[in-house]
């Protein structure tokens, strides 16, 4: 198994945000997490690469326990891509600079090699011609594609996506989903929080429905859409299909 999440608990003050979440991912799988806002989806992703420390529970990347205090977390994070809802591109760097900086500073790759790699990754997300643009000069969809290229340039074993299209104007969502679909088809392992059910139907091996800090139900898109075991799952799927349509 590539990623194993076991019984993660997290509380903020009195509120228990994650109440024992467990699941696993095989290499090459794409899993989609859905659930109402405030349910702990973002917190779960952040607990996986320890951007937020979990209170309890364990996470493994292959043989290595991420949650172990003696684990070099920077080494682990370098192998796990993270794509944010708000892109978080480095504002002072060009698209090329954003993609190149991880390989250069974290992996100590030579500048020439890192530049070549960065150009390839930008090309892969269809932005070869925007290499010299600063984030403020790019549309939201382009910024998000650069941030995907930035993650790819680290050759991650796994990429975590936290609502990558939620901050985008509707007409820009498609270009980002297109990149994500092709990544999934190329065999990238991806854990995606999203409400884009078109994307889920197209490439997800499994949909995980979370509510109030627990996994209510998980299954293949077909199972989840046609015969969800829990009433809440069906209700929620209907609701987001109405709200978000079936783009992508």
């Amino acid at each position: 198994m590539l990623l194993r999440v076991e019984d993660i608990h997290k509380r903020y003050g009195k509120e228990e945000v994650l109440c024992g979440v467990s699941f696993g991912m095989m290499k090459g799988e794409t899993k989609v997490i859905i659930g109402p806002s405030g349910t702990g989806k973002s917190t779960l992703l952040r607990c996986i690469n320890r951007l937020t420390p979990a209170d309890q529970g364990r996470v493994w990347l292959e043989e290595e326990e991420i949650t172990h205090t003696r684990t070099n977390i920077n080494k682990i994070r370098a192998q796990i891509g993270f794509v944010f809802q708000s892109f978080n591109l480095f504002a002072h760097l060009t698209a090329l600079g954003n993609v190149r900086i991880g390989p250069m500073k974290v992996k100590r790759m030579k500048k020439d090699d890192a530049t070549r790699l960065a150009r390839e990754e930008l090309d892969r997300v269809g932005l070869a011609d925007k290499a010299d643009a600063y984030p403020a000069e790019l549309s939201g969809g382009q910024q998000q594609r650069v941030s995907i290229a930035r993650a790819l340039a680290m050759f991650p074993k796994l990429i975590l996506f936290d609502e990558p299209t939620s901050a985008l104007d509707p007409e820009l969502i498609g270009e980002v989903l297109e990149v994500m679909v092709s990544l999934a088809k190329e065999g990238m392992t991806m854990l995606v929080v999203t409400h884009e059910m078109g994307f889920a139907r197209a490439v997800a091996d499994e949909i995980i429905f979370m509510e109030n800090g627990v996994i209510v139900e998980q299954g293949t898109p077909t199972q989840m859409f046609t015969n969800a075991k829990h009433q809440r799952t069906g209700e929620f799927l209907n609701k987001i299909s109405e709200l978000y349509g079936e783009t992508g």
Partner: protein, 222 residues
């Protein structure tokens, strides 16, 4: 009111010292100011406390008193510095406190997601600060920092009190000799005005040079 031509070159002899003191104390101020700001933002309790005490002390007491503590007081501790060393040190320690506050504001103005993005790539905290936070903070701080630079250029004039013959020291000596204070200090003022103009023009050019689309407000020079 009449001016003697000889005053102009006589006062100009003080310019190199004025510039040396200003640039040296600004350099000390940048290095120490950045460290203090980082200590305040990222340090643990004790380090943060030390930084706050330092900053409060130097912002809460007169610069002149600080200069006298260094020049007149340090010898009592067995530390004897030349007048020039004292002047640079006192002004440097003082501007560091102010610069620290400007840097802190700028560091905190860098958007929170930037740190998350850097850490998620596998950067250590020092790497994230160096490659993601500071390059943005430096650009954000430039307008406020430029004002501090110009202030120090003017405040450097207090070093005449410790016998240094900077622009102000020269003027003071000349005024005592010729008993023409009004005109001579007017000439000194003119020199400061020209210096301030040159320095602020250079700083504005620097700001323009390092500006990046979408980062920081447009220049807010006085």
């Amino acid at each position: 009111m009449s001016f003697e031509w000889e005053w102009f070159p006589k006062l100009a002899e003080g310019l190199p010292l004025t510039l040396q003191i200003t640039f040296s104390c600004i350099a000390i101020g940048i290095v120490l100011g950045v460290l203090l700001a980082l200590g305040r933002v990222y340090g643990h309790r004790i380090l943060r406390g030390i930084c706050i005490v330092y900053i409060q002390f130097f912002r809460g007491t007169p610069l002149l008193v600080q200069l006298f503590i260094v020049y007149n007081g340090f010898p009592n501790l067995g530390i004897t510095l030349t007048a020039l060393q004292s002047g640079i040190l006192a002004l440097g320690l003082n501007t560091a406190a102010y610069q620290a506050e400007y840097f802190r504001g700028a560091i905190q103005a860098v958007r929170g997601g930037q740190m998350l993005a850097a850490r998620s790539l596998g950067m250590s905290l020092p790497q994230a600060i160096r490659y993601a936070i500071l390059p943005q903070a430096f650009r954000l701080v430039l307008p406020a920092w430029s004002n501090e630079f110009i202030l120090m250029l003017k405040y450097s004039s207090i070093v005449f009190t410790v016998t240094l013959l900077d622009l102000m020291g020269k003027a003071k000596r000349l005024a005592a000799r010729d008993s023409r204070s009004f005109e001579i200090f007017l000439v000194a003022a003119l020199y400061y005005l020209v210096l301030v103009f040159i320095v602020s023009t250079l700083l504005r050019l620097l700001e323009k040079r390092v500006r990046i689309p979408g980062l920081g407000a447009p220049s807010q020079h006085r």
